[in-house]
Subunit: 401 residues, 4 copies
């Protein structure tokens, strides 16, 4: 079973059709609420949608069956998450949205059995949400991991975390957070970064504000969070002390790929709207769809969709083979983040004034996808690492000749 | 005195410096209100800002001195409106924002002395606002003028207008509107379109809703307006019956150029923010401003700014020489609308997460400038007419050889 | 066995390694001849290279084993032709270059057993070359098939062809040509186009000139060919009378994909040269490979390569499943033709003056790949058909909902 | 008299018309020779064309009247050189092509009266050609001036130059060259670079080869030149010892602008050909000029032409005011070099196969303009300096507030 075959696997096909119907009937109608209020989806909306998805047997497609998920391969996720993403609220409804989806993956790979029982199971079941506290306000960590300034030190058995985190998506209302902090060398553990599981009721962690932002699509918003002598027990360490940066990669490579899948679904939606509009609207004596410049926009979006889809499929196939595929997921992320922006922008342009009005959700999509060129690694940072990898790979090839 | 010289004219230079100070001290601080509320600027804010500008002797730079404006040439407007546009609310404050600025120009060129006294004078003085009711919801007029569906017929001496208008900027609260309607052949007047001045209290005109939109920067919003047996007296006709399309061009060529000036000012602001950020923020061991990909973005924006500025200056110079310059203003509009979008987008990217947060106004700018590729003629429509003009010009050149 | 797996199939892998060595040792050294003379590869060079390839068991990888080829699937061709294309003369050496490779495919699908014996077998074996006479000088057929002006009429049993063909690649020295001509309704055959096999010694066919051209990489050049009462026997008809346009599609969909494979190989070569240069050359105090703008170019080329590769792999996989995949091959062709141009252009830029000198073959590559955006369907024509297909597909999807 | 006015100055207008006629009647017909031979223009062709131009009173428009030139301002040069550049051989014919034109400017600014008499006068009169020996093969000087490796040392009164120069345009047949060499501190002279005038018959200077290159448009080709204990007298120093880098800037800022003017002329020619083709050729049931994607290409080229023209005009105007305008000329060079490439590329695309054939000179233009993104400062190097200048300017502006 490989990437392209996956879409033709009858089980995946059947699941895809059910997701499609669910998104059409439940997730897309709920978008109007977002448009009307201009605010983030509420916790209440999340619960309602996730209950529906659970009833339909569609909850948590990326999570292992052991914890209540559908246990899909990455190749199958490519099919299903793209379908979920066709609605802005589809991934939330199916409980496969960021940051929870990435956290499920990370917890499954790194957490102890007890941590999984306590944190992962309720997350997969939709009982709670979580968040991932990594980025910091300037001059802290953004694109460059070496700038991590939040730190943790031991105090007896416990760890004490101090620092300020920023743009922590979903923090408000999350039951727990994974906090990344710099830790000193200690016993066998090297100096480096460590991930800690922090419960929402820990008095040392405070959400100090919602950061108002161009995008509004995430429950719990983007928050600024202060860790002020935040004390956690030894079993709050996720994985091993000092290996936080490595785990960040474990989380990130698939997480950025699932982001690609979801946003590509939304781009496909925008393109479908553009195709509909072009087929219906007339100007200058013909259907828009027969005007060359509109055809060029439509075709460029088809090309962007096709290239995005195959880059995702190939990377997913590698991951299913057990490879980390960080080079490939970095290429896919860079291309897809930019392609998605172009596709939505063209759909807006084809709709004219209607495209920027809230009579349609297109301008909302425009706002939601713009930040994807920044998070999960800014395009520039990916390009730097893509180039460096290519130079190294070529040098190795030449040495091997 | 020509385009480039104008910037060096001591009087223009002095005025520019005063506008710069005013924008810095009054207009930019007021932006925070917009960011905080996420809503359109209020009528109260407009009045406050315009009172300040009037005190500073800066009100209505584009309007003739005869009616209380500063009477600037187009070349001088290029300098001053770019400076005003440095603040999102600068043009509103100086009473040189759309749609009023374009209406002032049109009224000055086409209205009768009585109409100017009644409508233009209070507009220039900031006592009232106006609007321009042209575009219609699908399948009515958008980019293609031939699709105008609102119509007016004579009933005795009076005219009766029927139709639906859409995306009428500033309609809510405007004291009067210029409504474009299809009119039949009548006496000496050819069949075509006619412009009518309609007072806000005319019972036949109704604002049926605010169209929620990606951009929020215009007082009075974007409205949907219904004309339902809207009866106006013969002296409501602006200019001559049947010449509406020609007047639309009279209004549009300079109006789209002043739009370019204003938005280019905002783009310059975004670039200044990007330059500041690049000079201050460090990553990967150096200032952002020393990283090649950041330099590339900064340089591309410098190039876009320079090309925009010179295209505007050249077109303004032609207009000051008495030419219509519709070819040149079409080229300038197409280039500048796209360049402005690129410049603001790069500034967002250079700021990373901060760029999409409302801690800065950059993502607000992103939303405000996006529609400019659609209004005042969509880029595609301009390209069509630019190409056709070029083909005709070349054919004429060859015939002349 | 699917697309991505194919590269890992041990037999394909082994073949790829042998092709790689052959290209490195035989095809690439022969490029210097082209650079030195500035002329097309000679027939003598072709024979020498193909003899070498035959000795190495590498001749005619795309042709059926029945006729002496290697009988590779499209997915395997994607691997092997990309490797062959790493050298500008690699595809010629392996006898899988245009136009012969497309002709082999077409003959295998459409020709009678006798025609295959007489025309296909010697072509596969490298004894002769062939050509494909379709395009015509203005106002004849170029991008728009309906403009075909060459025609054939019956005269007794025989057919008589009249017309002028243009840019017929490889015509000079080809043993036979496939000529496309308009034919009238006749018996059961509909009016349309018909393909004819014309021997080189037919006195009715004349090569009137070599068209000097930006690209020089094809043996036999690009020729202008006149058919002047060119009389052929009934068995010269390829396939059925009146079905020429359908056969052109049979030939084109895979032929344009193999073109993509070959040119992508050359683009990979250009990128390897750019990577080497960036790793070695210093400027402004660091290796080029550590300068951000160079990294951006290298990364953009990596992304272009990856997207091209996966689009080709996906399309090949569909074809191996028996689908025509014309939508997909059209998308792939459009993207790859443009991507290849960008990649080579960036490699030139990274090399500076060296890149445009003939000390390296890069500027030769630049010339060879430019026309690919024009032949096999100009990008604009593909975009038109991609858009139309998308509109139809979407309408069908909606109807099915 | 400023930039835009200049075009309307009756004297400039009259001169432009005469240049236009000359280019049409003499320079363009001579292009066929280049196309036919595929080689550089010969010295004999140069002499013939320059004699014609001299008879027409058009020789050396950029040179001072004192030395026999037309003494045009930069603004007037913008008009006249763009007209000359409409033919590939126009600038050569008018003796305002690189590298001679830049050398005239430099000599006029820096040389002693004796040097001007001996070197400049015959150059302006067309009796001889010259060259400028700056760039070196790797790892020597290319984009980064600090990498200059050719050096000169004193031996008694004389200077002895050693080094290897590369891509020295026009070297073969030049009567003299300006050679740039590193010189040590000496007396009052700082360590740095010095320019030397070297006569062609100096036995220490040898042209070791013509570098075959993508572009072929320069008489004398691009040569590799070795300086091997090349001894020159003290009066061979151009300007002052140790100030070579400063003089390189004196030469470069206007020289790159005149390059822009000339190439923009050629781009305008390509666009005129595209407009003609689009107006004449039909496909898909209409004139190409009525197909949207063709209109888009034509319009984008019109926009590129307009922006290029105004950037050049603005920079020329600044230079005529006595400013160095290096920031502006750097922006103009970067934009124009890329715009010219796009314009010619679009013209090729619109012509289809005809565009890449030598039946038209378009693909020759494509080859000639490509290197302009590399010489006179590669686009990347300009972007680096544009960004740095912008950062510094902004910092200064803030400090001044």
């Amino acid at each position: 079973m490989t990437a392209f075959d996956t879409a033709l696997d009858p089980e995946v096909e059947e699941l895809r059709d059910r997701v499609r119907a669910f998104v059409r009937d439940e997730a897309i109608p709920a978008e109007r609420e977002l448009l009307a209020t201009g605010a983030e989806p509420t916790e209440e909306l999340r619960r309602r949608l996730q209950r529906s998805a659970a009833s339909a047997g569609l909850l948590s497609p990326t999570a292992p069956t052991r914890w209540g998920g559908l246990g899909l391969s990455m190749s199958a996720q490519a099919v299903i998450l793209m379908e979920a993403g066709y609605g802005l609220l589809g991934p939330l409804a199916l409980n496969c949205a960021a940051p929870d989806e990435g956290n499920m993956h990370l917890m499954n790979r790194v957490a102890t059995p007890e941590q999984r029982e306590r944190y992962l199971a309720p997350l997969v079941g939709g009982a709670v949400r979580s968040c991932f506290a990594m980025t910091e306000p300037s001059p802290g960590v953004g694109s460059d991991p070496s700038m991590l300034s939040t730190s943790a030190h031991r105090d007896g058995d416990a760890w004490v975390i101090n620092g300020r985190k920023w743009y922590i998506t979903g923090a408000d209302g999350a039951a727990w957070t994974i906090c990344m902090a710099r830790t000193p060398e200690h016993g066998d553990s090297p100096a480096g970064a460590t991930m800690f599981l922090v419960d929402a009721d820990n008095p040392g962690m405070r959400i100090v504000r919602h950061i108002d932002s161009l995008d509004k699509g995430f429950v719990g918003g983007h928050c600024e969070v202060v860790f002020d002598d935040c004390r956690v027990a030894p079993d709050a360490v996720l994985g091993e002390v000092g290996r936080g940066f490595a785990y960040a990669q474990v989380r990130l490579a698939p997480a950025r790929l699932t982001h690609c899948m979801r946003w590509l679904g939304l781009a496909r939606r925008a393109q479908d709207m553009a195709l509909d509009r072009a087929a219906e609207r007339e100007a200058f004596g013909s259907r828009l769809s027969e005007l060359g410049m509109v055809q060029q926009m439509l075709a460029d979006s088809e090309i962007d969709l096709a290239a995005s889809r195959t880059l995702i499929a190939h990377t997913a196939w590698l991951m299913d083979r057990g490879e980390r595929a960080s080079a490939e997921s970095s290429v896919a992320k860079t291309f897809v983040a930019e392609a998605v922006g172009r596709i939505v922008d063209r759909a807006v342009q084809i709709h004219g004034a209607l495209g920027i009005s809230h009579d349609l959700p297109l301008s909302l999509f425009l706002r939601e996808v713009r930040p994807f060129r920044i998070y999960d690694g800014a395009s520039e940072v990916h390009r730097m690492s893509i180039a460096r990898r290519a130079v190294r790979r070529r040098a190795a090839d030449r040495a091997a000749q």
